[in-house]
């Protein structure tokens, strides 16, 4: 078997607590499908037949009981539960399932919505025998107004500095602004080997990684690494140019295996390669290919650890971990599946206007004289007469009484909007009731128990 897929669905959604305090992030409806469905669909489309899903007990329960939450994919899903206390990072989760991992892995996060041609990433992993291959995309500027956001947009989140070589494929440098205290320092060894480096800041990490099995073994040895994105990836990128690693390389063109055995360094787990290392070495020596030119070094500068990145410049790629991203994803999600936007079982009365870019879920009841434009109505929701819903996201089981006007808002599950309410750019939490004739603008309406949480 070539690759095993691992879906990380235990994340808490810490950047959109308003949405996730009641519904776990993997189950948030996007285009009336649970968020988890999108990466699973991606994996299924390219041909995976099995996936290991790492999630919490709550999500697992929801998956098995709630029919509308069930991601209906044909793959065999092996669900592994991790404790919910939130201290388990993604790398810790990998360590947890180390026994199940028999080959190289493809780690995907549950909040990734993309239509990337996955073979681009995996081909880099295969062709160059890389240790890490990841996907990044040009960051998208969210233009929709986010409910509850007061004033100007917050200052940009901590930026990522990503350094790639001239071909744009080899990953040379990766650091987060938070880790850089007084400026960006680049090691001389990197500059010597790759004199031309492009540093990009406007990229978003799609959290899709192809990792060699040796990395998982390495993680079990080094228990200090707890997050893939935060710690493991920068570590691997740094280790590419580490001297300890490169001293293992054979200097001449001769295949002298004894030399290699003598100089084993402590990081040999990362460099575990196939048993026919000598044959591979021979093939590489005889091959007249080099990945760079201008200096006297052999291909890959003799380094055994290589990290590659595929940067998408076209197509969809969203990480739904903020409210703005969630809203944008709801707009774009219909492009990713071919179901008709209006579900067959929805009861839509004749005299309502449903825009072509709106999605109506199953068993909805839309009464007369309503107008639904650029919105998503969840499963089993009821919309009474003379309601105008524009640019909004209405989740499951919501009741909207007559005469309401909802614009640019997010209404969570099981909320009830009273008659005649006027909501602009609001976020109504789970199970909330909006009293009739209420007028709210740019507010986040959540339960009092949530106000205590920071």
């Amino acid at each position: 078997m070539e690759l095993q897929a691992v879906l990380m669905a235990a994340g808490g959604g810490s950047r959109m607590t308003d949405l996730t305090y009641s519904t776990p992030k993997p189950m948030l409806p996007v285009g009336n499908k649970p968020l988890m469905w999108y990466p699973l669909n991606l994996l299924e489309r390219v041909g995976f037949e099995e996936v290991i899903v790492i999630t919490t007990k709550e999500v697992q329960k929801m998956m098995s009981t709630d029919p509308k939450m069930k991601p209906d994919v044909k793959m065999k899903m092996e669900v592994v539960c991790v404790p919910e206390d939130g201290d388990m990072g993604t790398a810790d989760a990998l360590r947890h399932i180390q026994q199940k991992i028999k080959t190289d892995i493809l780690v995907v996060s549950c909040d990734l919505i993309t239509d990337v041609a996955l073979h681009e990433v995996v081909d880099l992993f295969r062709a160059h025998n890389a240790t890490l291959a990841m996907l990044m995309s040009k960051a998208y500027e969210f233009t929709e107004t986010v409910p509850g956001q007061k004033g100007k947009k917050r200052t940009a989140e901590q930026r990522d500095f990503v350094g790639v070589d001239q071909s744009g494929k080899r990953l040379l440098f990766m650091a987060n602004e938070a880790d850089l205290e007084d400026g960006l320092s680049v090691r001389k060894s990197i500059i010597r080997k790759h004199p031309r480096m492009h540093i990009k800041t406007g990229l978003v990490d799609a959290h899709l990684y192809c990792l060699k099995k040796a990395v998982v073994d390495f993680l079990t040895e080094n228990k200090s690494i707890s997050s893939i994105r935060g710690e493991l990836v920068p570590y691997l990128v740094r280790k590419q140019f580490s001297n300890a690693v490169n001293s293992q390389k054979v200097k001449d063109d001769s295949e002298d295996q004894t030399q290699k055995n003598n100089e084993s360094s402590t990081n040999h787990e990362l460099l575990i390669s196939s048993r026919d290392e000598s044959l591979l070495q021979l093939a590489q020596e005889r091959s007249c290919w080099n990945d760079h030119r201008g200096d006297m070094c052999e291909a890959y500068h003799g380094g055994k650890l290589r990290c590659y990145v595929h940067i998408m410049d076209q197509g969809l790629c969203y990480r739904v971990n903020t409210l703005a991203a969630y809203i944008e994803a709801n707009r774009q999600a219909p492009k990713l599946f071919d179901e008709p936007p209006v579900h067959s079982s929805a009861a839509i009365s004749e005299r309502c206007q449903v825009g072509s870019d709106s999605i109506i879920g199953a068993q909805c009841q839309i009464a007369d004289k309503t107008s639904i434009k650029r919105s998503t109505i969840g499963v089993s929701s009821t919309v009474k007469e003379r309601v105008k819903v524009t640019n909004s996201i209405v989740m499951h089981g919501v009741t909207i009484e007559e005469g309401c006007n909802i614009q640019g808002s997010v209404i969570c599950s099981n909320a009830i909007i009273g008659r005649g309410a006027d909501l602009k750019y609001c976020l109504v939490g789970n199970g909330q009731r909006i009293e009739p004739e209420a007028e709210r603008t740019n507010e986040v309406i959540v339960g009092t128990d949530q106000l205590m949480e920071i």
């Binding site: 078997m1 690759l3 041909g47 295969r126 062709a127 093939a283 091959s287 006297m296």
Partner: protein
């Protein structure tokens, strides 16, 4: 007299048959007679029509008796058919055991007589049918290269599929075969220059993995990786490709388990066939790879059926290891040793492109303290010479670097030319990177000796006299350069009268090559068929 001759002949057949049926060993004379008869049969089948009459005359003389009754009838029947050879063939065959008469038995006589008559009738029918079939010159019809009744026309072998890309029937057959093996079909890209429209032309930006499922189940992951490395050019060069192929096969064999009710020797070969088609789609197989595959397949089929799986697998892994060690590594050492004798102090050696073997030779010669300098000739679009230059300069050899357009300028300085080869063809032509024949030609004009270094496992039984018939077309977009931010040829496909051609190989005639250095010794180019024959006998 004729009748007695006939009876003698039939008696003899009867005698041998009787002996065989009785289970007695054939006497020495009878064995000799059988051998002679087999030889004569073979000879008769290979002779042409114009010698048929001579042959039949000789046959008659060979046979101690004169023409018999069935013979003229058979001959007349044969003469009805367009060719007369097959008819006399079986009849003398039946008569061949006739040299010495033997005691006759009545029942045996009649049986043998009937047999000969039946055979003569069959031949006559077959001959007439062949005549009706028509011209055997079509490649499809001449499936058997030695069709018995059509020796009037020259024998045409079937053309391989990979050089018939402009024939839609061949393409359809290929598509069907790939579908059966569950391998995606790679589509040709771009406009092909008309002289080469019979070859495939693929784009590097459309890898075959686009159409494969990501954890590839149909094809072993090692093979997918290898195919990707071939198509992207990461593994390039005849030796590197063969070694990488054998490495991938090692992994395949290690991961292989015999399904129940199947034999390893047959099932593994069938398992390898789709892999080979896949690799062929990624990049056309080289001659060295073809020979390696033939060797592996032979080794696999020679595994005895009672061999246990573990034993068989370890045996195969050993065979692969042996093949690489002997045919590639040791051969390189042997060739280096012989070549070093040809390199003298003060030499100026010209090399072209990046041949792993030539680089090895030069590095070894430098280790043995020969004083020489090297001129590296390079050509677009591959610019492999840069890699050769790097490897030589890293060792400390002093090098000069020129492009192929300057080769006639630099040749007066050169004392020897060392060339690597991709394959050596059976008629002595050298198939190598495009540009090699140019260099050999110019070197010949300047009277500079040209030495080709090639291991014997690259010797190929194909015959080619020009570079058009069978070649490889690389991605035409490789020829596009961007200088100062401008790419002039960006939209070359929109120009109706422009075609980009990126050839990979060319053939050098043996007149331009002075010596071929192999691990079997230094041979002239024309001795390649001898080596091939010796190799075949060995196997």
């Amino acid at each position: 007299m004729a009748d007695s001759g006939v009876t003698d002949g039939f008696e003899k057949t009867g005698g041998i048959e009787r002996a065989k049926s009785e289970g007695k060993e054939l006497t020495k004379e009878e064995k000799q007679r059988l051998r002679k008869e087999k030889k004569q049969q073979k000879k008769n089948k290979e002779k042409k029509d114009d010698r048929a009459s001579q042959e039949s005359g000789r046959e008659k003389q060979g046979v101690s008796s004169a023409a018999s009754a069935p013979q003229p009838s058979a001959q007349s029947a044969a003469q009805k058919a367009p060719s007369a050879v097959p008819a006399p063939v079986p009849v003398p065959a039946s008569e061949a055991p006739a040299p010495a008469p033997a005691p006759a038995d009545k029942p045996a006589k009649s049986k043998a007589e009937l047999k000969a008559e039946r055979r003569a009738r069959q031949e006559a029918e077959r001959a007439s049918k062949q005549g009706k079939k028509g011209d055997p010159g079509q490649p499809g019809a001449a499936g058997k290269p030695k069709a018995p009744a059509s020796e009037l026309q020259p024998v045409v072998k079937r053309l391989p599929e990979h050089i018939q890309v402009d024939n839609p029937d061949v393409l359809k057959k290929l598509a069907k075969k790939l579908e059966r093996q569950q391998i995606p079909l790679r589509l040709d890209y771009g406009y092909k220059v008309s002289l080469f429209s019979h070859l495939h032309q693929y784009s590097r930006k459309a890898p075959l993995t686009q159409q494969l499922s990501i954890p590839s189940t149909v094809i072993h992951p090692a093979i997918v990786r290898l195919g990707l490395q071939y198509s992207q050019g990461i593994v390039a060069g005849s030796n590197a490709r063969s070694v990488a192929l054998l490495h991938a096969f090692r992994q395949v064999i290690r991961d292989y388990t015999t399904p129940p009710n199947e034999e390893l020797s047959r099932d593994l070969v069938n398992r390898l066939k789709p892999y080979i088609s896949f690799l062929n789609q990624c990049r056309p197989l080289s001659a060295s790879m073809g020979n390696a595959i033939k060797y592996i397949k032979k080794e696999i089929s020679n595994i005895p059926s009672q061999c246990k799986e573990e034993e068989a697998k370890s045996k195969l892994l050993h065979c692969i290891e042996w093949y690489i060690k002997e045919k590639i590594i040791l051969a390189a050492k042997a060739i280096a040793e012989s070549s070093i004798e040809k390199i003298s102090d003060g030499d100026v050696i010209l090399i072209y492109g990046c041949s792993s073997l030539v680089n090895h030779i030069l590095c070894e010669a430098f280790e043995k303290s020969r004083k020489f300098r090297v001129i590296v000739v390079d050509s677009r679009p591959r610019l492999e010479g840069r890699e050769a230059l790097r490897r030589l300069v890293q060792r400390g050899i002093s090098c000069t670097y020129v492009l192929i357009s300057a080769v006639s300028y630099i040749l007066p300085e050169v004392s020897k030319v060392f060339l690597g080869a991709h394959a050596l063809l059976a008629n002595g032509y050298v198939m190598s990177r495009v540009g090699t024949s140019q260099i050999a030609l110019v070197a010949k004009a300047f009277n500079v000796p040209v030495l080709v270094c090639c291991e014997t496992y690259k010797f190929c039984e194909r015959v080619q006299t020009d570079s058009f018939v069978s070649n490889e077309l690389d991605d035409p977009d490789d020829l596009i350069v961007t200088r100062k931010g401008r790419t002039q040829l960006e939209n070359w496909q929109q120009e109706p009268s422009l075609g980009l051609l990126n050839l990979v190989y060319d053939v050098t005639p043996p007149d331009f090559v002075d010596l071929v250095i192999t691990e079997l010794g230094m041979i002239p180019c024309t001795s390649v068929p001898v080596v091939l024959r010796v190799k075949n006998v060995d196997q």
